[in-house]
């Protein structure tokens, strides 16, 4: 397969310009770090758990934001017919998806790294945090691509992406209080990300965890491939 790096770059740059004019998406990238910072500085200390809010909001940041942004960007381009124009200009679907996915990854990690300044991380746990967020982000982007490719317009994409990513990213928080949910939710990658974020220093990576995340990623990938095999992107 031939791939043009300049096509991917063009899409990436276009998306960067667009995000500054698209408040809805811009807010999604910064909202969780800001809320986490406020909560951590105001009440975090009193609870005696400095990093509790960081773990909660970093999980949201790694799951909710990339799923919703990716799905809405793609579905909007389908709805407004700009995707068609790109494809007719010789941009291959793979290049387009990489450009958009790359953009979402870049922005998520850029604003996501601000958590490092809020919490008590050292070199090791900080690197682990970023790796963990990166893995969560990639799974979420693939899921977002599938949802965006499936939906016909922005509204239906959001109607699907918001509840799905809510469930995935909220579970760790609910499981924190309800152990019964934890037994089920551990099979969802959002929970595994949340687990690490809640306790980075004493974290134990097991084969089970790796397999769970890998299976999650594969499921997202299968959904994505299914959608694009059925050519929802090219009508």
């Amino acid at each position: 397969m031939k791939v043009s790096v300049s096509h991917i770059g063009a899409i990436f740059v276009k998306q960067c310009k667009d995000v500054f004019k698209n408040t809805q998406v811009l807010v999604l990238f910064v909202i969780y770090p800001i809320v986490a910072a406020i909560m951590t500085t105001s009440v975090g200390g009193q609870l005696g758990q400095m990093d509790f809010f960081i773990s909660i909001f970093a999980t949201m940041h790694a799951v909710f934001t990339p799923v919703v942004v990716t799905a809405s960007v793609i579905s909007e381009e389908k709805e407004k017919n700009t995707l068609r124009v790109l494809i007719m200009s010789g941009v291959r679907p793979f290049e387009y998806l990489t450009g958009i996915g790359g953009f979402v990854f870049f922005c998520t990690m850029l604003t996501g790294s601000s958590y490092l300044a809020m919490g008590s991380f050292n070199m090791g746990t900080g690197a682990g945090f970023l790796l963990c967020m990166g893995i969560g982000c990639i799974c979420s982007i693939v899921l977002g691509l599938a949802i965006g490719g499936f939906a016909d317009n922005l509204m239906s994409a959001n109607a699907l992406a918001v509840p799905v990513s809510m469930v995935i990213s909220f579970l760790p928080m609910i499981a924190y209080f309800n152990k019964a949910i934890g037994r089920v939710s551990k099979y969802i990658y959002g929970q595994q990300i949340g687990n690490y974020m809640q306790n980075p220093s004493g974290y134990n990576l097991t084969v089970e965890i790796i397999s769970i995340v890998a299976v999650n990623f594969l499921l997202c990938l299968v959904a994505f491939i299914f959608v694009f095999r059925h050519n929802r992107i090219e009508n």
């Binding site: 300049s6 004019k21 010789g90």
Partner: protein, 282 residues
Amino acid sequence: MEAIRLKNIGKNFGEKKVLTNINLEIKEGEVFGLLGPSGAGKTTLIKILTGQLPATEGEAFVFGKDSRKLKENNFREIGMVMDNSGIYERLTCYDNLKLFVNIYKINKKKIEEVLSLVGLGKEKSTPSGKLSKGMKQRLILARAILHEPKLLFLDEPTSGLDPVTMKSIHELLLELKKDGTTIFLTTHNMEEAAKMCNNIALLHEGNIIEYGRPEELCRKYNTENQIKIFIKNGQIMSLENIPDNAAKIEQLFKQGEVVSIHSSEPNLEKVFLALTGRRLEE
């Protein structure tokens, strides 16, 4: 080599036949007009030609290449204005074109050049969502000609535009025609077709019912063969176009009575009406 060749193209949507047995050749450098009323299948034919829709029957070739197999380097030679072409409404006119400059890897100086060509020089930094309808249409046209394509598909490029904008687009297209660009144009507007096109085809219910040069078609359907003379006293004289009437016309001229002379050659609108019993705008 011809720019476009259609062989026995047919298209059904489910049970519904939209195009039947379309054969067509368009030479390089030609401006071709596809005319027909709403729902005739014009957009469908463009979509088949640009690989956006598969034909049910027959074959379509663009520069000798099967239209279902068009690749990146083929799209490089094609520009398109479709009735649903999208623009990035939050981005400025400049940034909308900048994206395509990056995709086509051409010099970004071209952006300003093309913007002023379509009369959007002043709107360079305006978000394209804030443009009027005619301006949006011109931006879409600017994008279509940005990479100097050899072949332009224009699906009703001037429909719904004011006469001034329409005229400026016509001038631009005639300029492109002079430079040798092949243009495939669809329109409801007979005047537009007569002014721009080397050849036209009339599409009616999925069939090409007439094909030829606009003047030729008009002459062919010139059934009345009358000459109308507007005279000074406000009268209109209608004379049959036969040698016997020459003296009469000469006399009127000599008396200085003639305001203007019109042949009643049918325009394309009348040709269409004669062929189908329907008006184009219906």
